[in-house]
């Protein structure tokens, strides 16, 4: 897979939101929402970004689509850096990259009919006109499990799951190669979540689209991911294939995250790593490793040096001083 050039290459992506104060809107600091995030996405694969709320995972998605402007870093789509493009230059690339939002209510314009919503990208990119567009919209609606007649209805006439299907149909309309799915099922009931996830998997097989799937729910991630990137305080701390990450997590934060996920077996017992304290403020992130304030294994070096994301095992990257490339992925020792 790595021999093929990736469809999406993100390098050093950074987003610092300025904090403005006072009469003259002086910048008194920055919220370091995303800090030096790099990864690649291959055609047709699903890369999940997981992390707790506020870790910057949604900001990554929005920066890639240039819905917010990244402060630094590059985003290459099919080898072309799109971060410097103006709105007109950006338009052809927008066709190849679409987004599905978390909130199935706020993401559909309440005043437009379903057909207009799904047909809008077709209209904008000049992909289909008149009766042809209607046909195409009808096919898309049927493909996501809605009836073609639904195109004349307004968003409020649909349920949450149906609305998310509409969102998917809109994202698929211009035949994109990448879909950023920003917590697409978090707002849905569990039973509906499964339906929408399975639909997304089917659509991926059919259209060969790659997903950048943003989620905080490890159960969902386990179901859909090929690879997983774990984010903490604006940085990727671990990036690996799904099975490797679930079976041998290398970063202490990943370990804690997996330990916190519930297991559907009341008899199950396991060694639990429970984190203490809160996530530090992204305005003044800790020096060194950002996780050192809560890491039970932290040593002196962690408070000073920022660990780089290194390939510690084949296709398994982590940003931790305690993991040397080639070393056995055994459990870490608590200092003292």
């Amino acid at each position: 897979m790595s021999t093929i050039s990736p469809i999406l290459e993100v390098a050093g992506l950074t987003k610092h939101f300025p904090i403005l104060r006072g009469l003259l809107s002086r910048t008194v600091g920055h919220v370091q929402a995303v800090d030096g995030v790099s990864f690649t996405l291959q055609a047709g694969e699903t890369l999940c970004i997981v992390g707790e709320s506020g870790c910057g995972k949604s900001t990554v998605g929005r920066c890639i689509l240039r819905l917010i402007e990244p402060s630094a870093g590059t985003v290459k789509l099919d080898g072309v850096d799109i971060t410097g493009l103006d709105e007109n230059g950006m338009r052809p690339y927008r066709q190849r990259m679409q987004i599905v939002f978390q909130d199935p209510y706020a993401s559909l314009n309440p005043r437009l009919r379903a057909g207009e919503i799904v047909g809008e990208p077709l209209e904008n990119f000049g992909l289909a006109h008149g009766a042809e567009r209607r046909d195409k919209v009808a096919r898309l609606l049927e493909r996501v499990g809605l009836r073609a007649e639904a195109m004349d209805r307004f968003p409020f006439e649909f349920s949450g799951g149906q609305r998310q299907r509409l969102g998917l149909a809109r994202a698929l309309a211009p035949s994109p190669r990448v879909i950023v799915a920003d917590e697409p099922v978090s707002a849905l009931d569990v039973s509906v979540q499964a339906q929408v996830l399975n639909l997304m998997i089917d659509l991926q097989e059919e259209f060969g689209v790659a997903y950048l799937f943003i989620s905080h729910d490890l159960g969902v991630v386990e179901h859909i991911a090929d690879r997983i990137a774990v984010m903490y305080l604006g940085q990727i701390v671990e990036l690996a294939d799904k099975t490797a990450l679930f079976e041998t997590p290398l970063h202490p934060y990943t370990e804690a995250l997996l330990a916190a996920a519930p297991i559907a077996d009341p008899g199950a017992r396991r060694e639990r790593l429970i984190l203490e304290g809160d996530v530090p403020s992204p305005i003044n992130p800790p020096a060194g490793c950002r996780f050192h304030t809560r890491c039970p294994y932290a040593v002196a070096r962690c408070r000073v040096d920022t660990p780089a994301l290194r390939e510690v095992a084949p296709r398994h990257w982590t940003a931790c001083h305690l993991r040397e490339p080639g070393a056995a992925p055994g459990p870490l020792k608590r200092p003292g």
Binding site: R91, Q102, A106, N124
Partner: protein
């Protein structure tokens, strides 16, 4: 929603029944709208229902209301009923055009400054400046420079209203532009113009309609004030303001001369405000849900 379902399931009720149901649910809209419709109708049909509002008949000075002169005559022997009806034309014309003018310009400014932050910084400071000018003072200044005409009055009253509209529109744009469906439109390749017109503009319409009614009511009052001061509409046109001004000397002996324009002014402003309140309750989703 419920009304739509009822309408689809049952045979359509007669128009009269539907109007009655609507009036019971929205009494303020019904009362304000009916009064306003009656006044507008009278103003439109003025030449048919009223006599000459301008001709002097000194022999008929200060006649009390009678069969011949429905609301009596004023100090120059002019028919108060005819003058009141014709006065409604000026009031409604000024109210309506000021509202349209202020909304049209304010909408454009508000959309632009809500969406473009650079425009916002400059234009909104300008709007703050305009807001500080009282409509009456601006009107007096403009009339003294450009001469008195209805057009000048309309422009003078509309200018200070523009910032209010622009601020309202801007605030709606600022909140709507952050909604995911606007991001979705951008991601789908919509151009700025389309995003503004198709996805943002419709949300500004309901509060704008309400604001327009208030602007209309206040414009009618300001116009009456200007006419009263003699700084507005040329004095040969009958307006409620100059009728009140000319009649105030005869208040003790001929109260009907001041009663008719005064009552009409109060009634029209009240009915427009009632209409505006009713529309606000109906169009504002937060208030509508509570009902």
């Amino acid at each position: 929603m419920t009304t739509a379902i009822i309408a689809a399931d049952c045979p359509a009720p007669a128009i009269a029944d539907r109007l009655r149901i609507f009036a019971r649910r929205n009494p303020t809209i019904a009362i304000g709208g009916t009064l306003l419709a009656l006044v507008s109708l009278a103003a439109a049909a003025a030449p048919l229902i009223a006599g000459d509002p301008i001709v002097f008949m000194p022999i008929n000075r200060l006649k009390p209301p009678s069969d011949e002169f429905l609301l009596g005559t004023d100090s120059l022997g002019r028919d108060v009923f005819a003058r009141t009806i014709y006065g409604a034309r000026i009031s409604l014309l000024v109210g309506l055009t000021v509202a349209l003018f202020a909304v049209a310009i304010g909408l454009g400014i508000g959309l632009a400054s809500g969406y473009y932050r650079r425009v916002d910084a400059v234009v909104m400071r300008l709007m703050d400046g305009i807001m500080a000018i009282p409509a009456i003072l601006l009107a007096i200044a403009l009339v003294s420079v450009m001469g008195s005409s209805v057009r000048v009055v309309i422009v003078a009253i509309a200018i200070p209203e523009i910032p209010r509209v622009a601020r309202l529109v801007r605030s709606v744009v600022l909140s709507v532009r952050e909604l995911p469906y606007v991001d979705a439109a951008r991601a789908s390749g919509s151009k700025v113009r389309k995003i503004l017109l198709r996805h943002i503009l419709p949300s500004t319409i309901p509060p704008l309609i309400v604001q327009a009614t208030y602007i209309c009511a206040s414009a009618i009052l300001v116009e009456a004030g200007l006419s009263f001061l003699g700084a507005g509409t040329p004095p040969e046109f009958p307006t409620w303001g100059n009728m009140i001004a000319q009649s105030r000397l005869y208040l003790a002996i001929a109260p009907w001369t001041i009663f008719a324009p005064g009552a009409c002014l109060a009634l029209v402003v009240l009915s427009i405000n009632l209409l505006g309140d009713g529309l606000r309750d109906r169009l504002d989703p937060r208030l509508a849900r509570r009902m």
